[in-house]
């Protein structure tokens, strides 16, 4: 139970080592210890533990990390497929676009 791992080989996390400055901010914000430091560069140590929250890419000052960030929520995928919008965090939408309606709850 120490580590819960979801599906294998699905994660979109990408590291461009050339851009890495070794500041380590990504390691700080990652909630699942996916990344580690190796010779003043970050490396992806535990790819399958990544949940694509996007914290590492968001906090990388040199854009060395990319990930298709999103919330791993089946209800959100269904809501998006059905074209429903704006129900709390259960819809997939572009970032920085505040939800229009807060009337529904789900997550």
């Amino acid at each position: 139970m120490e580590k819960m791992i979801y599906l294998k080989d699905v994660v979109t996390l990408q590291l461009n080592e050339k851009n890495c400055s070794g500041c380590g901010m990504c390691i700080v914000v990652c909630p699942h210890a996916v990344l580690s430091m190796n010779n003043r560069k970050v490396q992806i140590e535990n790819r399958d533990a990544c949940m694509e929250c996007g914290a590492c890419a968001m906090n990388c000052p040199t854009e060395a990390l990319t990930v298709q960030a999103g919330v791993g929520c089946a209800a959100a995928v269904i809501n998006s497929a059905l074209g429903r919008e704006g129900s709390c965090c259960c819809v997939i939408e572009t970032k920085n676009e505040p939800p229009k309606d807060q009337s529904k709850s789900c997550c």
Partner: protein
Amino acid sequence: MNQPFIIGSVQTPTGDVPKISSDLSWPDYWGSIKARWGVGRMHYTVDPGLYALGEPNERSPVLVTANYKMSFDRLRETLSNRHAWILVLDTNGINVWCAAGKGTFGTDELVRRIEFSQLNRVVSHTELILPQLAGPGVAAHKVKKRTGFKVLYGPIQATDLPAFLDAGMQTIPKMRRKTFTMLERIVLIPVELVSAFKWSLLIIPVFFLLGGLGAPSGFWQGVLNDGLFAVLNLLGALLAGAVLTPILLPWLPGRAFSQKGLVMGLITTLFITLFGVFYLNIRQDYMNILAWFFLTPALSAYLAMNFTGASTYTSLSGVRKEMRWAVPLEIVGGMAGLTLWVGSRFVLP
């Protein structure tokens, strides 16, 4: 807004800042319980802005949180007997992690709130302590560039804050790992259950009454046996998918939540069938019984799949991959079960 946790004010160069208590009272606990059950959860908020906890001065730490009342309460109760500034962002009443994922607990809102509260005139230092789970929404380097304030990511759990502060703003690795312990899973069950139960209230009476159709021993005997058997199975699906699967998550086979829910659903159906055969006078034709070995596991798998949204470790790519096979299977399984069950009302004598 009525905010009973405000117990006075603290004078600053920018004017009076409301002073808050670190003691939670009965209404605060009751509010948390209600929110866990989905009651008023989307409007359980505090006013955004700057608050003072204890008697903070210009050197006191600044902690940033969301304006979900439960997040705010968890923060202030962990900081009893301490002096700190609490900067509450407007996240539409959503918790830190969800709001960060949406971008509402984000760089723009943080910068706006720093400027609005004139934080640079309230404190003489330039450090902000953010919960680590704000990471998906806040770009620390951009905050620094735009406001001069340096973002320090503190521990994930508010309860680790005293240790973090006492260690000179240092975390240990354990504080940076998001867990999903049994207790953490259990507190999420009520909300899942309530939303699933709304549907059940519509479906259950229909199955209960249809159970009487085609019963050889008469309609009401059918309702009381086959109808009740159907209701037990539907409640069993709810229990399996929304309660037992979350509790037993790490021990159920498979990685996909649907698979875990499917297994739990099959086990539950087996027990309910044994109960039905031995203790209820259900029609023991294969269609009436087999129907629930399709319907209950399909429903359970669907409910378990929806728990991905509450979990702390599922990725969107993974959920999409799981749904590509799980949703069709759940629909086919559900339709097969429904056809068998309705069929058994009419086809056999």
